[in-house]
């Protein structure tokens, strides 16, 4: 045992020597912990923060954002809309290079944008892009079929990685491209080692186009299966930074650990909403009053205060609070069992013997128990109070759940869906009649259809006047919340857990799915 202690002392001493605290603001290694396993590291062909947070270190994008939703120069040093909003001109920084030393040109930008349009799951994100012209090596002009105000957010690091055409443009299918696991990028860090499910080692890209960035020499991303183990590693100071922390039960303990802090600031653009979706084609859920009744029976205060230890916020509608298009002027669905019972009576669901009116099943996304499974389990005793007998269906793996939901083999399901910055990117897909597509998960699997909503969303997508656009989205939120194809529960709480010696945490609207090039250890 003494040997182990001696060894620990040695290691500690070595670490201290390696990172002298003498006002040195760059250098050193950042050990980053996560319980998300990225399948590969190319955000061009998939969404989700597991890939995006590492992808944003490896790939630069045309634009980045500050903490107030303002676009900032990144690979594009300036940009301007032309042609009544149907063209976007990007002027690229002159000295940017890929990790292999080749210069980044407008050809690469054009290739990347068209490849993302063709491969990224969010078809509405770049749907309006017709082509990208390249009048000179550092000017790219994105040509649009119609005005597309969402395009600026679509050029963010998490959504628009600029890939080297000479690596990814070899004609192989980008979705299954071999280099997605060994990418050559343009961002502040280059990939040194990728052991899927274990760790990712990133090294500083010495030729990064922003001077004196990034600050760390190395980032090690350690992947944990289980948040308990990750929490212990943080307590033991093996991990200095854990973004997208969702385990609230452990958070209380972690934030009491000396030297460790947690914040839920940063990352507002992700807009993740935890909700209960209804199959609106299935009796008795085809009656809006039944859906409203269920929504009135859910005590969101209990869920956010008690089940989530006061660390999550109530969601009131399809757009996340704290984002530019959020509207609070909607039916609030404060818990009201009498009203719920009245609505069910009106809908003709009479109490049978034993006081039960109907039997419904609820599914949930496997993986995140606090947000999904626990809330589904909470519905069982809670909806019993209004005479609905709930069976919780456990999906052992993701395909089982996705198959049930996408083929409409469900009554109700818990789900978590992200806004991704602009409503066009992450909100429209859930409500458009044209997006009812059997077999496709995270389309309009509720089979919700309202011509008025279709019309409003079509208008808002192309509206260039922010005030008018906001008015359209306000109207949309009001109608959708009252139609209740979905009972909104809460905003998924994402925390950054970090060692207090870290400075310049990622506080922008994209949080840790943007380049961590300014963070350093004090």
């Amino acid at each position: 045992m003494t040997r182990i202690f001696a060894r620990l002392a040695l290691v500690t001493a070595a670490l201290l020597l390696a990172h002298p605290s003498v006002a040195q603001k760059s250098g050193g290694t950042l050990v980053w912990g996560t319980n998300q396993t990225a399948r590969h590291l190319n955000p061009a062909v998939q969404s989700g923060y597991a890939t995006a947070m590492v992808g944003a270190q490896i790939f630069a994008s045309p634009l980045r954002f500050d903490d107030k939703w303002n676009a900032q120069p990144y690979l594009a040093e300036s940009w301007s809309f032309q042609d009544d909003g149907k063209s976007l001109l990007l002027k690229l920084v002159p000295n940017a290079t890929f990790h292999d030393g080749k210069p980044i040109t407008s050809e690469d930008v054009a290739f990347s944008i068209m490849a993302i349009k063709a491969n990224h799951p969010f078809s509405s994100m770049l749907g309006a892009v017709e082509r990208v012209d390249t009048p000179s090596p550092n000017v790219a002009v994105i040509r649009l079929s119609q005005p597309h105000p969402a395009i600026l957010l679509a050029l963010s690091p998490a959504l628009c990685p600029i890939m080297p055409k000479h690596v990814f443009g070899d004609g192989a299918d980008l979705k299954t491209h071999a280099r997605n696991s060994s990418p050559v990028g343009s961002g502040p860090y280059k990939l040194a080692e990728f052991k899927p499910g274990e760790h990712i080692i990133l090294e500083k890209h010495a030729g990064f186009f922003i001077k004196e960035r990034p600050k760390f020499d190395r980032i090690i991303v350690r992947i944990f299966r289980d948040s308990n183990a990750l929490a212990v590693a943080i307590e033991r100071k093996e991990i200095q930074f854990a973004p997208f922390w969702t385990d609230l039960a452990l958070l209380d303990r972690l934030s009491k650990t000396p030297g460790i802090a947690a914040t839920d600031k940063g990352g507002e653009a992700i807009g993740p909403i935890n909700w209960l979706a209804f199959n609106t084609k299935k009796k008795p859920l085809d009656d809006a009053r039944v859906r409203q009744a269920i929504s009135f029976a859910i005590d969101r205060e209990f869920i956010t205060r008690k089940l989530h230890s006061g660390r999550s916020r109530i969601a009131t509608g399809p757009i996340a609070p704290g984002t530019p298009f959020y509207s609070a002027a909607v039916e609030p669905y404060k818990v009201d069992l009498d009203k719920a019972n009245r609505l069910l009576d009106q809908a003709g669901l009479k109490k049978g013997p034993g006081g039960m009116r109907a039997a419904l099943s609820v599914d949930f996304l496997p993986g995140s128990s606090e947000q999904q499974k626990n809330v589904a389990e909470y519905l069982k005793p809670q909806l019993k109070k209004i005479g609905i007998d709930v069976t919780v269906r456990n999906s052992p793996d993701f395909p089982t759940w996705a198959k049930r939901v996408s083929s409409q083999d469900f009554d109700m399901t818990m789900d978590a869906v992200f806004n991704w910055g602009d409503p066009v990117i992450g909100v429209h897909r859930t409500y458009l009649t044209s997006n009812i597509r059997p077999g496709v998960i995270w389309s309009n699997t509720q089979s919700y259809s309202n011509p008025k909503i279709d019309d409003l969303l079509a208008k808002a997508a192309v509206e260039r006047d922010p005030a008018k656009r906001k008015a359209e989205y306000n109207e949309f939120q009001k109608i959708v919340v009252s139609d209740a194809p979905i009972a909104y529960i809460n905003v998924l709480p994402y925390f950054h857990v970090y060692e207090k010696s870290l400075r310049n945490l990622p506080m922008t609207i994209w949080g840790a799915v943007s380049p961590i090039d300014e963070m350093y250890r004090d």
């Binding site: 948040s227 308990n228 385990d247 039960a249 452990l250 209380d252 303990r253 008690k306 089940l307 496997p366 128990s369 606090e370 499974k373 626990n374 589904a376 389990e377 909470y378 069982k380 005793p381 809670q382 069976t391 919780v392 269906r393 456990n394 999906s395 052992p396 793996d397 089982t400």
Partner: protein, 291 residues
């Protein structure tokens, strides 16, 4: 015929003798008492403590003793842990019992036929047994449960299907031994049918070690169910002890009670079953030891 009857009565003899050995074994008697308590709770519990284990009775994560409504504390949703403990015994024991039954029935059939007929039948059944033995039991059970989606029934069958091989080997060995004994030869000589010899003459004599093994298999099946639940493969609509551990495991550090109490219940139940199994083994052994 007389001889057959005589040997049958002789074969009943060991049971009485076994009990006299068993009741002198204090460890086994303690096991029997614990088991009786567990069984009584499982059967009468819901009447004695009529609280729905799914109802939210208080604040989530209340420690034991802090709330008179939930003496053992509450879980992460605020459900009464005591109600879960009281109700959880029945499904847990049922999974254990029925999975062991399935394993025993398959195992006896395979082993008895192989041991009795020998030759090609034995070779074929031996291959099948070996095939199942080679499959990694837990992984295979996980695949089965995933396939049919987790419920008490699928979990029971999955465990039964992966657990029968040792029972088959044991039964086969017993049958090979008994086949040589005089009363079996006698039964064959008087022209008894094969099935009468297998099920009517040989099986009763092979039973003691099989009963011991089946008892122990019940314990193993309960542990297996707990393992599957721990990995998240359990029915959320049935409050079993394994399910309680599985769903509370993420909160181990803040609420030791929610994992510890059902864990202790499983531990005690399996312990009791092992003690009884050992007691039975010792009780049957002096008679059956032939080496």
């Amino acid at each position: 015929m007389d001889r057959l009857a005589a040997s049958a009565s002789e074969a009943r003899g060991p049971w009485r003798e076994a009990w006299s050995v068993f009741k002198r074994n204090y460890a086994a008697l303690v096991g029997l008492c614990i088991l009786a308590l567990v069984l009584t709770t499982a059967i009468a519990g819901p009447w004695l403590y009529p609280v729905d284990p799914f109802d939210i009775v208080g604040a989530p994560k209340t420690p034991p003793g802090a709330d008179a409504d939930a003496l053992l504390g509450t879980d992460y949703l605020g459900r009464d842990l005591l109600a879960g403990i009281v109700r959880g015994g029945r499904p847990t024991l049922m999974v254990g019992f029925f999975a062991a039954m399935i394993a025993t029935v398959i195992g006896i059939t395979m082993g008895a036929l192989g041991g009795y007929y020998g030759g090609k039948v034995d070779a074929l059944l031996g291959r099948i047994t070996e095939f199942f033995q080679v499959l990694p039991a837990l992984l295979f059970a996980m695949v089965l449960v995933m396939l049919f989606s987790p419920s008490l029934v699928t979990v029971t069958f999955a465990i039964g299907f992966v657990a029968w091989t040792s029972m088959a080997r044991l039964t086969r060995a017993e049958f090979l031994r008994i086949k040589q004994l005089e009363y079996v030869r006698a039964a064959r000589a008087i022209g008894s049918s094969n099935s009468r010899i297998i099920w009517g003459v040989m099986l009763p004599n092979a039973l003691p070690p099989i009963i011991v093994a089946a008892t122990l298999a019940t314990g193993t099946a309960i542990l297996f169910e707990a393992g599957l639940s721990f990995l998240g493969l359990s029915d959320p609509n049935v409050m079993s002890w394994g399910m309680m551990i599985g769903s509370n495991r993420n909160y181990l550090r803040e609420m030791w009670w929610a994992v510890t109490f059902p864990g202790v219940c499983i531990f005690l139940t399996v312990l009791a079953i092992s003690l009884v199994g050992d007691g039975l083994n010792d009780a049957f052994n002096p008679r059956l030891r032939t080496r």
